[in-house]
């Protein structure tokens, strides 16, 4: 392994001060630190030893937590295709097709995003942050498998430049970057990210009676037609497509990585056990959604509101949003009390948006973005309470 060290040692002088590629030092450094953990030591004063964790490892843990969702999403994208065209395919060809759909989206997202990160790091002369490693994976997971690749690239560029770098880079952004990408597409190119986009058909003909409607779209239809939503979901073109079990497992059309509540829960377990994600936020999003859905059940003003509360937890992107988006430490509340409030409100808002807003079927994205904006306000009051406690005991 010494030879890798030697290679870097050989090219390093070119990038250091006075070297011919001095300007690109941080691009070089990003690559070097990917292979070699740096040799810097602690200062002469203060903590002389450091915890083994660093930002790279923390971000990598999040990526590992997303892998179940990604793998399942790849299979499901293929599976939904063959289901929709009425063919029976073996596992290998389902995965293969899924991979040809998903991998290009991944590549576009990472190459556009990292390209921008490198450019900004060079211009601003700071280290390349690891934040985009996570964002680059999140963006593909919230896209439909049919999304045009140029749109992925455009959305990624928008999200990274406007959503993050404009605020100062990783750690400074107000809005969740991946959701900014999705929101951008939703408002800029609505026809490619809503409607019949959730199952890839290709050049094939869909089976008779095929409908691309997701449970969330059925909700809106149920309100309009004043029909029981549960019976509409039971009465799909493919039998049992929207049974509770397959909703929980995620064998349904939808965004690549967010259909499976089970895989999200596996990811949640990884995040919580490793302590990287906040269990308070994750739990409180689910709790908030369940409480609000129960309240809706009791009010029962329309058919969507009558959908049993536990169904709300498995349809749409609620689980994915709760686990991977709401718990983003940068855009969430940062105080421990605030995390409970923040998560709970996201959960409640999601359900409110779902059942009251027919124009916007997916509630979680808007709920998280909205609460991103309010997170500093929640923190402000929690911090103010802390200050007040101190002020109370003061005598002068």
């Amino acid at each position: 392994m010494k030879f890798i060290e030697d290679i870097f040692a050989k090219v390093r002088p070119n990038f250091e001060k006075g070297g011919k590629w001095e300007k690109f030092f941080y691009i070089y450094e990003a690559h070097e630190t990917l292979f070699l953990a740096p040799n810097s030591t602690t200062g002469a004063k203060g903590a002389q030893i450091k915890d083994a964790i660093d930002m790279k490892r923390m971000m990598m843990t999040v990526i590992i937590a997303m892998i179940p969702c990604l793998l399942f999403g790849i299979w499901n994208a293929g599976h939904q295709h063959y289901l929709a065209i009425g063919q029976v395919a073996d596992l290998a060809s389902e995965i293969l097709l899924g991979a040809t759909l998903v991998v290009p989206i991944l590549i576009v997202s990472y190459s556009v995003g990292l390209g921008i990160e490198f450019t900004f790091a060079t211009i601003r002369k700071h280290e390349v942050n690891e934040g985009f490693l996570v964002t680059g994976m999140l963006i593909p997971l919230v896209m439909p498998p049919t999304i045009p690749l140029w749109q992925v690239g455009l959305a990624t560029a928008f999200a990274v430049i406007i959503g993050k770098e404009a605020f100062g880079g990783t750690g400074m952004n107000i809005l969740n970057v991946a959701l900014t990408a999705r929101a951008f597409l939703y408002f800029a190119y609505p026809s490619q990210i809503s409607g019949d986009v959730w199952s890839y058909l290709g050049s094939e003909q869909a089976v008779a009676g095929f409908s691309g409607a997701t449970p969330l779209a059925i909700g809106a239809a149920a309100v309009e037609g004043n029909q029981s939503m549960l019976s509409m979901m039971g009465d799909m073109w493919s039998e049992g497509l929207y049974s509770f079990n397959s909703l929980f497992m995620g064998i349904i059309p939808g965004s690549i990585g967010e259909t499976s509540t089970l895989m999200c829960l596996i990811g949640a377990a990884i995040l919580i056990i490793t302590g990287v994600g906040s269990w308070k936020i994750i739990t409180s999003v689910f709790a908030g959604a369940f409480v609000m859905a129960t309240i809706c059940n009791l009010l029962g003003a329309n058919e969507y509101m009558l959908l049993p509360a536990h169904y709300h937890l498995v349809i749409g992107g609620l689980a994915f949003g709760a686990v991977f988006m709401a718990s983003d430490p940068v855009t969430a509340t940062q105080t421990e009390t605030g995390k409970w409030i923040y998560g709970f409100l996201i959960g409640m808002l999601t359900i409110i948006i779902r059942v009251f807003n027919p124009a916007y079927p997916e509630g979680i994205m808007l709920a998280i973005l909205l609460m991103n904006v309010f997170a500093p306000l929640i923190d402000y009051y929690v911090v103010a309470a802390n200050k007040k406690r101190r002020l109370k005991r003061a005598t002068v």
Binding site: M1, I4, E5, F8, T33, F35, L36, A37, P38, N39, S40, T41, T42, G43, A44, K45, G46, A47, Q48, I49, K50, D51, A52, I53, D54, M55, K56, R57, M58, M60, T61, I64, E127, N129, G131, G169, T170, G171, M172, I273, T274, G275, V276, S278, P329, V330, Q334, T335, E336, K339, V383, N386, K387, R389, R390, L391, R393, A394, T395, V396
Partner: protein, 451 residues
Amino acid sequence: MSQNIKLKKGFDINLAGKAEKKIGELPPAETYAIKPTDFVGMSRPKLLVKEGDNVKAGTPIMIDKLVEDVMYSSPVSGEIAEVVRGAKRKILEIRILADKEVSFESFDKHDDVKGVSKEAAIEQMTKGGVWPNIIQRPFGVVADPNDSPKNIFVSALDTHPLAPDMNYILEGQKKYFDAGISILSKLTEGTVHVNMDVKDSSDLFKSTEAQVNTVSGPHPAGNVGVQIHHLAPINKGEVSWTVHPYGVAQIGKLFLEGKYDASKVIALAGSEVKAPQYYKTYSGAAINKLIDGTIKDGYVRYISGNVLTGNQINSTGYLGFYHNQLTVIPEGDYYELFGWILPTTNRLSFHRAFGLLSFLGGKKKEFVLDTNNRGQHRAFVQTGAFEKVTPMDILPTYLLKAILAEDFDDMEGLGIYEVIEEDLALCEFIDVSKNDVQAILREGLDLVKNS
């Protein structure tokens, strides 16, 4: 009204190389040094001696021009060998070449310390070299004799990594400790608190003139700042004092024996020490004799103090005034292939992110840690971790951000008066973003102090 403080938050860093409870034999150090830099906040040190002067143990060496009453005295007798200066003629070290036999300046002896008046006590303490043991909160600077502190706190347990056992380094000094407490109790209208480990069954610290409280929990439970927070928190405008038990005994000795005795038992500890144990020496001793033949071969770092709050010194350096241990750990300036992601069980981590399996060894497992930074500096991203190792009602992340923004109101509101570096040292250790937490905090303390 003794109290029990039970703390849950915190983290014990279990390092290899604990000092065994025996006193090793080594030739005494030849030179000793007083370093103005040891005394936080000392801005204008003024020398009272010249190179070549002869001094006794207890002879004043320097003063701080801002608090002229307090003498900083020579720990041993001998000749002022050298005054080492740095940039802008800043005094870095005053080196003393020690006599073979230490002779002492004589001060008043008191058989009954209870009869000493407050004024006489302050006078003798400031002249007799023991005053710098008294640290003022807020700010963690040497106390001003003109202040009247709300309370005085003594933490009789040290939970820092590889910290010396207080009972051991003060063995046989109960009468001096008691006398010291007696003197201290004259200096405050309030209470003298002595806080000891709940598991500590010795009666060394069980003083009658102080309120004896017990503390339990992981580090930083032994930090006096944490204990103050739970016993009588410091508000704006208030002053409390803290004294290390060694300092209490030294104060007691000044009054009972009439001499400034800077002898101390220190722990030589750390994974790179061949046989970690205790040694007798004097405050400010050169470490060269101490490390001669006792350290394993290899590239090591010498730390005066502990690995969380201590200072790096080189092999010809001197122990700090407040330090009771010398820690020796490996240097870590090496590259490591995929070091940021390889699973590991022998790198200690408070976190459990992917591959950090140090928790598998249980709480007893000892770790050999080096000085590698383990990553690069980043923006604040992770939240909630600092709060888990700070057993106080304080929001460290917000406090640090307030300091970085130089927001005085927020710094005050968020409790900067209650903490000094050591209280947030664990935050610095566990920080994913590798911020210099202690340096940032000191910056904030300086801002508030000088505003």
